[in-house]
Amino acid sequence: MNIKDHLQIADKTFTSRLFTGTGKFSSNDVMAEAILASKSELVTVALKRVDVDNEQDKMLQSIKQPHINLLPNTSGVRDAKEAIFAAQLAREALETNWIKLEIHPDPKYLLPDPIETLKAAEELVKLGFVVMPYIHADPVLCKRLEDVGTQCVMPLGAPIGTNKGLKTADFLEIIIEQSNVPVIVDAGIGSPSHAAYAMELGADAVLVNTAIAVSQNPVQMAQAFKMAVEAGRMAFNAKLGSVKKHAEASSPLTSFLN
């Protein structure tokens, strides 16, 4: 752990461990205000929502800030080939080699295709991209992605947009234990307590969109997430006491041995 506890991914250093998204907000103004309140420094944008031919694209304009890095995502692609094409288009249009790799051929639950994701990740790393893959909380897949050179892994906590929290906690713990690259819990985080829990488990960051965008007060909710992520991280660094699995008998069972 570095002293300031910053998060390093590829060539970038982040003070904030809360990453955010741009979908589902009631207006660009609300979105911009919420993202500012979250203090997030990495904000994901669906390339399919951006008018790449228009430099004045309203959504992009409204989040243009020196401290905010754009993270284009490949949402909408169905296989590795389309994902690679989308990443290249994003690199050209948004002038960044960072890409959030999302391949969900299933438009209903938007669950990531592990096979196509691994294929695309390998190719994109070779093409010089910083690849942030959205995947199932599958520890073996995470290691395989690390092996092909992704700079982090983004396992899901629950199906995207469900706000169900860390349904995959047992697997996330294994991933965090084994990973040599940052682990960012993406999808399913529905409340600040879920985010804090992910950070307590040792996640390096979380990505939150729906829970902020569709709350009654997105700006306040963004602040709440910011605080929760900070609290969870602080608790992780301070080392949580272990949870006692068994009651301790007041008269020790083995005292007769003394």
């Binding site: 009631s26 965008a213 569709v214």
Partner: protein, 371 residues
């Protein structure tokens, strides 16, 4: 399994028994359905039933919450563009029906581009191309050319045209086609025959299996629905849902949308056999949302201003505005007869202002072709 189509599933159902089982659902069935987090087709029947009417407010609340969770505070905007009113079908309810003595017109390239320019200036980026059924003049090669032309200007192209063969869909998909809307009109076989006595459209089975052909062709999105009012709307809504469930399981990489066109009395056209009231329509929309949290639900300008202003929060995810339902209706030939009378005639700006006032962001672009 591969040659198995929806018709095989559909043929195991009986219309009258299905309708009776919907009518017989009780308040207890409705409460059971409302209490579940994942609902099945029996729950859907309960939510469509007369027994669910007293629960409409509760259904609306659940529908609103589910829609917001999945789609956020947004409404996808699209515009229809009629390419042709030539038609060799007789459909008893349609202004373009073959026997109607109206001037027929099919837009040429230049006219298409004029209409395109108009819609682009309004902000639209998702377009729905509509034709009648005239396979010689408005067949696959006409459609292919139109898509090629329009694709350069719109991110997302959908068609609502005559049903085609799988290979023909494959050609159009290659050209950049994103989605196809094809409504069964009614799932009642005999009534269907009455309303479509002549033309290729009179073939109920060919139409019924269109979505299968589209799924096999690998289309991104399929829109289905019924023209409510031709028959009992509850049964037609049920069969639409049955169709949806079948398709979702079989063609799992495809997205689906449901539309809710209804025949209105006093529109000068065919009187509905079974009237679907505003309340019934709200019940149907909410029931679909409670059955399926992810399906897109679309509402056109057929519906009134007041209805549209109020339904935007209750489950609908995409909307058109300022629509013209005649070929060239925007710029080329605004005076010709429309396919049906639109009800919400507000400008696109007025509609998007209404959305913003309701805390909803109109989304213009939500697609990029990566293949």
């Amino acid at each position: 399994m591969m040659n198995h189509t929806f018709q095989d599933v559909f043929d195991t159902y009986n219309w009258d028994e299905t309708l009776a089982s919907i009518q017989n659902k009780t308040a207890q069935d409705v409460e059971h359905a409302l209490g579940k987090s994942k609902r099945d087709l029996e729950d859907f029947k309960a939510l469509l039933s007369p027994a669910a009417q007293p629960y409409l407010e509760q259904m609306a609340g659940l529908s609103q919450a589910a829609t917001k969770k999945r789609f956020g505070n947004t409404i996808q905007m699209y515009a229809p563009m009629y390419l042709s009113n030539e038609c060799q079908n007789i459909c008893t309810y349609c202004g373009f029906s073959m026997t109607n003595k109206i001037p027929r017109r099919t837009l040429n390239d230049e006219e298409i581009l004029k209409e395109v320019a108009f819609l682009k200036a309004k902000g639209f980026d998702h377009i729905l191309l509509v034709t009648g059924e005239a396979n010689r003049t408005v067949g696959v090669s006409y459609l292919k050319n139109a898509i090629k032309l329009i694709k350069q200007h719109f991110s997302n192209v959908t068609i609502e045209v005559q049903p085609l063969d799988q290979e023909e869909y494959e050609l159009l998909i290659e050209e950049g086609l994103y989605a196809v809307l094809v409504y069964q009109e009614t799932y009642h076989r005999d009534e269907y025959k009455k309303h479509h006595p002549k033309g290729k459209k009179s073939n109920f089975n060919y139409r019924l299996d269109t979505a299968d052909r589209l799924g096999k062709a690998g289309i991104h999105k399929i829109g289905i629905g019924a023209l409510f009012g031709l028959e009992d709307w509850r049964a037609d809504a049920f069969f639409t849902a049955l169709h949806l469930r079948y398709l979702e399981k079989k063609y799992w990489k495809t997205k689906y949308s449901i539309s809710f066109p209804r025949l209105r009395p006093f529109s000068g056209g065919l009187e509905p056999k079974v009237e679907m009231t505003d309340k019934d329509l709200v019940q149907t929309i909410c029931a679909f949302r409670l059955l399926d949290e992810d399906v897109e639900l679309s509402l056109s300008t057929r519906e009134s201003e007041v209805f549209r202003n109020n339904i935007v929060h209750l489950g609908i995810t995409s909307m058109s505005s300022e629509s013209k339902t005649n070929p060239g209706g925007y710029t080329v030939d605004p005076q010709t007869l429309e396919q049906f009378e639109t009800s919400d005639e507000r400008s696109t700006e007025q509609v998007t202002d209404m959305l913003k006032t309701n805390g909803l962001e109109p989304v213009w672009k939500d697609w990029e072709s990566f293949s």
